[in-house]
Assembly symmetry: C2
Homo-oligomer: 366 residues x 2
């Protein structure tokens, strides 16, 4: 069920019901402005990834600063954005299920929509859905530039799929999806540079081989918050797909030379039990904040460590802990799946609630 | 946003849209019947924990088999149950925020409601809310019987809180909350027996000390799926709070002498990319299934391992993998936070969808 909003505009932050997903609006706006300023001189465009924020409100704030559209991973995310007024959406992922493709084809009547493929059977499925809907769908070929997940090898295998798309009567070949996910979290700048240099080589080669077959790559998309400056400087990618930059998280902050953004996303929690000295139990555990990238940091309490999570509890230990009843900002380990736990963002500026934004694509996994 | 149901009654399982939360109804009913049969001769009652299932439909199925009520951890969960017709609900957790307590007090007009406390300030907050609502609220004292989380020490500290509750004009002392969470997942039966024997000693002593002060413990609640038989046999606990037994998960299955229940909960996923030999990528990652208790098992594919999770992807490796487009049942590592990711249960029996149940308290963290 949709949960009621945990706050009202004008409230003080300490009055917000917990757990709640906070955006520090000053930091958030700084992050959006910073990304726009960094990309502007490169000529590379931003197509921000909505898998992070899942919100047309955030998407439109990014587009007001120059983003040309949005990426999503799921058809249900594309729906939430298009219904909220986002005009240009790339599903940066394979979609092969007929039921999902029928929804995507229907959506293309209200927004510019594109999708990825890495298999002839996938291309045939998109062609069938586009034909049934009486439209032409833009399809990108995903290449594996180092993540070892989806995507074919750069080079001839990718070119063959591009030709297959171009030869399909209801499809348009849109270019390449070339995202190196694991490079984002490599800890040293040297490792990140080496990973993106190799990705650029394979991508450049594939673009050139497509061109030789008369196939232009209108979009070459990829990059995330940990490496976007490298892709933007390469001259290979046309669009940057960063998402986390808007919010940041504890894991990105652990990179050496971390991305130049401020922590803007928090889970506000409350100490609801303090039964022994040196222990404070907060009301935010596994259900409030996935721990796949480690436990959250305790903002503003340098001696406190979030040491243990249960489904509904987090145990803080250390020195100078928050007291019984105090509200505490936690910095999530991993922003994307944390956002997806909440129905509402609570936007806060200088201690006051300024806005409530629905997480419109919360749970949009289809 | 509430997501649309991923299936319709009568569909074949292969037609269900993915990712989806499946209940194998035969296994689920077996589990409910088994728990009822095991507890019946002990005289200990079942107050099943709805933090696992978050559904009045499941709660009422448990109560038709003899469960006397439900536990929850959160006020918003209590609301979802009471609105769905569950008449007797224990919040097996501390609630201290006035806004939450006002909601709980209002709820007590349509259901029998009780809550826990482990601090005088918490008791004062419940008293204030009960007075404001013009009701009397039942409060249990939580004791720490080994989990090291919430709860005061067994013995005099607990008795002092019980007396404080009994002396509050709008409160009723309801007994003790004595749950040993970490004992559920201790791997050997010897470790589990030792943990619950120690918990029983402290609990028995506290009940007796309360009795000596004229305070009867009408409820002594605790126990989970990993140890309930021990608590039920002890003669100390009056109510068993198991939740996971209805569904099971990969983590409980790793216990030596695991609980006598069948795996009834699955995440149905689809292979949406198979770009290289020995790799199949499914459409269920961190957002579909928290990994705090390890990656899921791949049901029915003994040579396949779920080796890596991304936000929206899972990478299967090994021998005899499911092919491109195939639907695959995954066994979640940890059932409670997995359920909380979905808006719908899809109930399946012998390959056909039989029912859709809303996860009514999905996201109910307040």
């Amino acid at each position: 069920m949709l949960q009621p909003p945990p706050a009202e505009p004008g409230m003080r932050e300490e009055e917000v019901d917990t757990p709640a997903l906070l955006i520090d609006l000053d930091a958030f706006e700084h992050n959006l402005d910073t990304m726009a300023a960094l990309l502007e001189p490169t000529g590379t465009k931003l197509r921000a990834h909505a898998k992070t924020h899942k919100s047309p409100v955030v998407a439109l704030a990014q587009m007001r600063r120059g983003a040309i559209g949005q990426c999503v991973q799921k058809v249900a995310e594309a729906e939430a954005l298009a219904w909220g007024g986002v005009p240009d959406i790339l599903v940066s992922n394979e979609v092969i299920a007929p039921r999902k493709l029928a929804r995507l084809a229907a959506l293309s009547k209200i927004a510019k929509v594109a999708v990825c493929a890495d298999d002839e059977r996938g291309i045939a499925a998109v062609e069938a859905a586009a034909e049934a809907a009486g439209i032409r769908m833009t399809v990108l070929v995903e290449i594996d530039v180092g993540s070892g997940r989806c995507g074919v090898e750069p080079g001839p295998q990718a070119v063959a799929l591009a030709e297959r798309i171009a030869a399909s009567p209801h499809l348009i070949f849109g270019g390449l999806q070339a995202y190196h996910g694991s490079a984002q979290h490599k800890r040293t700048p040297e490792e990140r540079r080496a990973a993106i240099a190799a990705a650029a080589d394979g991508t450049r080669r594939t673009v050139e081989q497509c061109r030789q077959r008369g196939l232009a790559c209108a979009i070459v998309g990829g990059a995330g918050t940990g490496t976007f400056a490298l892709e933007a400087a390469s001259g290979v990618w046309t669009e940057i797909q960063a998402g986390s930059y808007a919010f940041m998280d504890a894991d990105y902050a652990r990179n050496a030379e971390p991305p130049p953004f401020r922590q803007a996303l928090f889970v506000l929690s409350q100490v609801m039990s303090a039964p022994r000295a040196g222990v404070a139990v907060v009301d935010a555990g596994h259900k409030a904040m996935p721990t796949d990238s480690g436990f959250p940091l305790v903002h503003g309490y340098p001696g406190a460590t979030y040491a243990r999570a249960a489904d509904e509890h987090g145990t803080l230990v250390g020195e100078g802990l928050p007291g019984f009843g105090e509200k505490v900002r936690l910095v999530p380990g991993h922003c994307d799946p944390t956002v997806d736990r909440y129905d509402w963002y609570v936007g806060v500026r200088r201690g006051r609630v300024e806005c409530l934004w629905p997480v419109a694509a919360r749970g949009a996994m289809a």
